[in-house]
Amino acid sequence: MKNINITIDGKEYQVPENYTILEACKQAGIEIPVLCYHPDLRPEGSCRLCVVEIEGMRTFQPSCAYPVNEGMKVKTNTKEVRDARKMALELILSRHPQDCLVCERNNSCELQKLAAEFNMTDIYFSNELPAFKTEDESGVIVREHQKCINCGRCVRACQEVQSVNALEFFNRGYEKLVLPTGNKKLHETTCTYCGQCITVCPTGALHERDETDMVWNWIEDPNIHVVVQTAPAIRVSIGEEMGMEPGYLSTEKLVGSLRKLGFDKVFDTDFAADLTIIEEGHELLHRLKNNGTLPMITSCSPGWIKFMETFYSDLIPNVSSCKSPQQMFGALAKTYYVEKAQIDASKVKVVSIMPCTAKKYECNRPEMKDSGYQDVDVVLTTRELAKMIKIAGINFAEIKGEKYDAPLGISTGAAAIFGASGGVMEAALRTVYEVVTNTELENIDLKMVRGMEGVKEATVAVGNLDVKVAITNGLSNARKILDKIRAGEADYHFIEIMCCPGGCIGGGGQPRPTSPDKRKARMDAIYCEDCNMELRKSHKNPAIDTLYKEFLKEPLGEKSHHLLHTKYTKRDSNV
């Protein structure tokens, strides 16, 4: 990439020619305020907070969307520029409620932070609030539309990152607003509940439904046995939400905190992830041996599943029938575990801590009741758990680390990496290789399937067979591979699809604001966790061995089919 010369505030810099002014300023150490800009999204330049003066231009330009060019002279800090930005912010604030003390985003709101940075002690314009009702009918995503500032990040995330197209701008000018398709409720649209709209929202206009009250009540009730499971991606993100640096690995602190909160048993979704590998691995081998439908596609990500049922229902036969690890865990907690611990299943509540908003939807799907009860009772996001830890007065930085309870807390490194794009694939290959070849896999770090790229492809020799695999993250990237399958142009054997950018580490329930750098840090931490584990292959998990011996008998057996596998439903894509 060629560099060009640019002058910013009187100093000369050399920056790559494909930079925007905003990126050039960042490199020069100059912070430009932004609202509609987000590093994951196409720049739009609609909020006008990032305007700068460019020599020779009649009007100010939005730096987020304006490309640099040779000899350009930019001023970022003149009185006129400061006044223009302040006016833009005042206009936004004139239509935004000012009850920040009682808002979901209090202290984590980007608009609030900007108001503080602008020293906004008074707003010139009168405060005129549109009357919108809060929408929470989906039971997952809450839209407090009166707090929306029309930045359009959610619209771009929904349309461009996820290609779900459930959100769009309606009307124009002063009446412009974001609405689900055709002014319907979210649950009546193609929404997958992935929550990417939430992770990019700068204000409190979009958030998950808070279900912590219910969990507190169960914990308080001595007659209820409350079991908690934590997804692989929580251990690399809860620290961040508690004020530590992104990617802070806090598995043992997480367990310690959960025990202190009062959960009766602290278990790990990683146990069920190991189990998923055994079931899914055998399903793949079964398909390979018996001319089954290929490529087989993973089924761990509930946002992807709803997306597939909506837009690619013709590919239902390709999708693994395995439930997600969270649902396998729920079904086993209320059968295998209660039997072992001699507890009445009707008195057990299973709480999941997930990086995901779609998991809230998944646990309420009507088919997820194979234990005879609702398998997972409630799902809390990383953010909701952090709220509980904070209100309980737990000093997360200081708390002593503890270990997960046995047996549903015993896991391997293969399960830990489920939280990152490529992780399920790597874990599956580690097991499939050894099951098929009966020899030990020497180098178990399969780096060719790792990383943040949207679409990855690899070929792995397993015995005589060259297994062709593909891995995607973000639903618009999934479309690229799925369209190939539809067109008959794909000869993959196995495909991993994760709904969110970077996998679960970038899930809709993760700490905000998100960015590629933060996701990278979380991903690095997850591979670090894998490295630190004594056991790193799912089929070496002794607790899984015992589970099959004592309860399930064999992979893909009758009990497995009843408790661990599921069916999918075709849904309308044109709603």
């Binding site: 349309q159 769009e168 309606f170 124009r172 398709t181 055709g182 709603v575």
Partner: protein
């Protein structure tokens, strides 16, 4: 909402599937509807045909005031609310329409004959203030002219 009974399939066949045809398709379907609107069912059929997501189509129909997804009267009165019309007395004219028809802006008369709407600049600034009633233009309006204009429409 029931379908507006427009033969969408026949209209769509007149156009190739590229998105550039969208505005024309929307106009044609709306004009074929007796109630001057594009029903939700038609929207779905257009989405199927053009491969444009449904939410995008609603984005377009709500952006342009000419389109409606709600039933309207046989005649749609569009009162220009841009600056030149406003300066030359559009407000008094629209109030006169409101009084004569007994409906507010955005409403349809009980007999289903008239719908009263505001709209963006009609490009008729030379004869401001102006209204369009379906395809007819009425310019240089004064409040007292409204009664006679309405009477022309059966």
């Amino acid at each position: 909402m029931t379908c507006c009974n427009v033969d969408v399939g026949k209209i769509l066949k007149e156009y190739s599937e590229e998105k550039g045809n969208l505005m024309e398709i929307l106009h044609k379907i709306q004009n074929s509807s007796k109630e001057n609107y594009i029903c939700d069912d038609c929207m779905k059929k257009i989405s199927d045909y053009t491969k444009l997501p449904l939410n995008k189509l609603y984005g377009v129909t709500s952006f342009y005031t000419m389109f409606s997804n709600k039933k309207r009267g046989k005649y749609v009165i569009r009162m220009c609310e841009s600056c030149p019309c406003h300066v030359l007395g559009a407000e008094a004219v629209i109030n006169s329409f409101v009084d004569e028809l007994g409906i507010k802006v955005g409403e349809t008369t009980k007999d289903g004959k008239f719908t009263l709407e505001h709209c963006a600049c009609l490009g008729l600034c030379a004869v401001a203030p102006a209204v369009m009633i379906n395809e007819d233009v009425h310019g240089n309006l004064k409040p007292e002219m409204v009664k006679d204009i309405i009477a022309k429409y059966e």
